[in-house]
């Protein structure tokens, strides 16, 4: 999860990812951030985020994103 945290801070250093729990719902993360995030997560964690995964519940917090990454990694095997 540290790796994810680092990646997030690289994209938006102004957001307190440890404490924000409605990143998408409260529009802290904008659409263009999501594009960057999706491509970086895909590369970094060797997963493929699909359009169906792009729902606020999967991106509202670091924990939710981490859970999504783990789920996608499990599906790979």
């Amino acid at each position: 999860m540290e790796q994810l945290m680092e990646l997030l801070e690289g994209i938006r250093p102004d957001i307190d990812f440890a404490n924000e729990k409605s990143l998408v719902t409260d529009r802290l993360l904008e659409s263009f951030d999501i594009i960057n995030l999706v491509s970086e997560i895909d590369d970094e964690f060797d997963v493929k985020i699909k359009p169906a995964d792009l729902v606020p519940e999967n991106f509202d917090s670091v924990e939710a994103m981490w859970a999504l990454i783990q789920r996608l990694q499990d599906e790979e095997f």
């Binding site: 801070e9 994209i11 250093p13 102004d14 998408v24 719902t25 529009r27 993360l29 904008e30 659409s31 263009f32 951030d33 999501i34 594009i35 960057n36 999706v38 699909k50 359009p51 169906a52 792009l54 729902v55 606020p56 991106f59």
Partner: protein, 507 residues
Amino acid sequence: MITSILSYLDRAVALYSDRTIYTDGNDEISFARLRAAAASVGTAIAEAEKAEHPVAVLTGRHVYTPACYLGIAMAGCFYAPMDPGVPDSRLRQILDVAKPETLIADMEHADKARELGYSGTLIIMEEALKTAADEDLLKERRAAITETTPLYILFTSGSTGKPKGVLTSHQAVICYLDGLQEVIGLDETDILGNQAPLDYIAAIRDMYLPLMTGAKTVMLHPNEFAMPKNLIGSLHDSGVTTLCWSATGLEIPARLGVFDDAEDMPALPPLRRVVFSGSVISNPLLRKWQNAFPDTVFINQYGPTEATGSCTYYVIDHTVQDDEIIPIGKPYRHYLIDLITEDGKYAEAGETGEICVRGPALALGYYDAPEQTAKNFVISPVHSHWKEPMYRTGDLGKTGENGELYFLGRKDRQFKHLGHRIEPEEIEQKASLLDGVEECVCTYNAARKAICLFYKGTATPKEISLFLRAELPSFMAPRKLTAMDELPRLPNGKLDRKKLEEMTQGK
């Protein structure tokens, strides 16, 4: 004769009365109710402010924001919209340029107006909406509105570090919409899906085309652009037939793969036409839209805010290939385009020239900035026998063998990012205000859509990023910050821009 956008409002109320004109996810408003709301706001404004004066608008994304704009117009004033989402320092700059003595804010943002240091008359939208309309007062104001009365000031990035206020008349807006309508032919069965923030030039289509045509506009939730299935789902559920979006707005869902999986394709909206503008679209991403919507007409538009919306268009009549360049096409009705070479002559076919615009759809100029206005709104060197203003876009273009216009880039360093026009000097100037930034240069990687900042100084990238995000709209914040011991220079001491450009493009 139609002299103002208000003539269209009156006609629309007579024709469409109780039909819905706007919805925003929480609320909806009919044509008749919009007219009534605008009359109430207009009365409150007219009681507070003289005609032909700016009125700032600090409201959220809801159906009453256009009612405020139209109310201000009814009072014979012009609106200066302020997006509450942009940083305070930017909003203060807007106040500083427009110097409004009257500001209307919705309840949610009224405190913000005061926090910004605004000290003039503050009208609360919700209270203004309860004002009994004084039709005599409005009639009096209306009598003094002509085609050239200003309707709005919209702000764009300025290379001096201050946003420029583009002042635009009723006539210019009517001419643009008339030219666009002639091409896209909306009617009262059409539904527009509004993407653009309401303070942005692109929103004039979504707000005012319904007044001309009886169409309805659905204000989409900005979150949905990050969540493409939800976005396509809402377009479908709302029955959206027409998109007038930024090229980036189209690219985002396509890039996120929403049309990629035939097995998992969302239900698609009944799109009749998709009009896009703001930057050069990615052909592969446009093709994904074309493949998903084979019966939909796709139209590329080109034009700066100073020419009110867009001045040229090209109807794409085939599925685009990766290597082709989509023309910007031909001028809309009411626009004249001249391509003028550096030595002040008309460019020959195939020759590069600056794209210059004439006609009744030009902006009136930059508000309270006579020097900038004189620099960009000039008398044509070729067409100089009488005094007709011509706007120099700073864009380069040529006419192709097919007679269509092509866009070839900029004369200066300006670039387009996410549909916004950005002067890199504005970002550099802001960054250099931070202690620990001695020198900096802003560049742009168009392929990765990344604003880059190279700098010399002790500040960390994070410090600079935090600082700039507090000072500039988020779309202007650099994504890639590179600290350097020295910025690259040519032997004569000038910045080596070519080297910086290579570093930007990752060569």
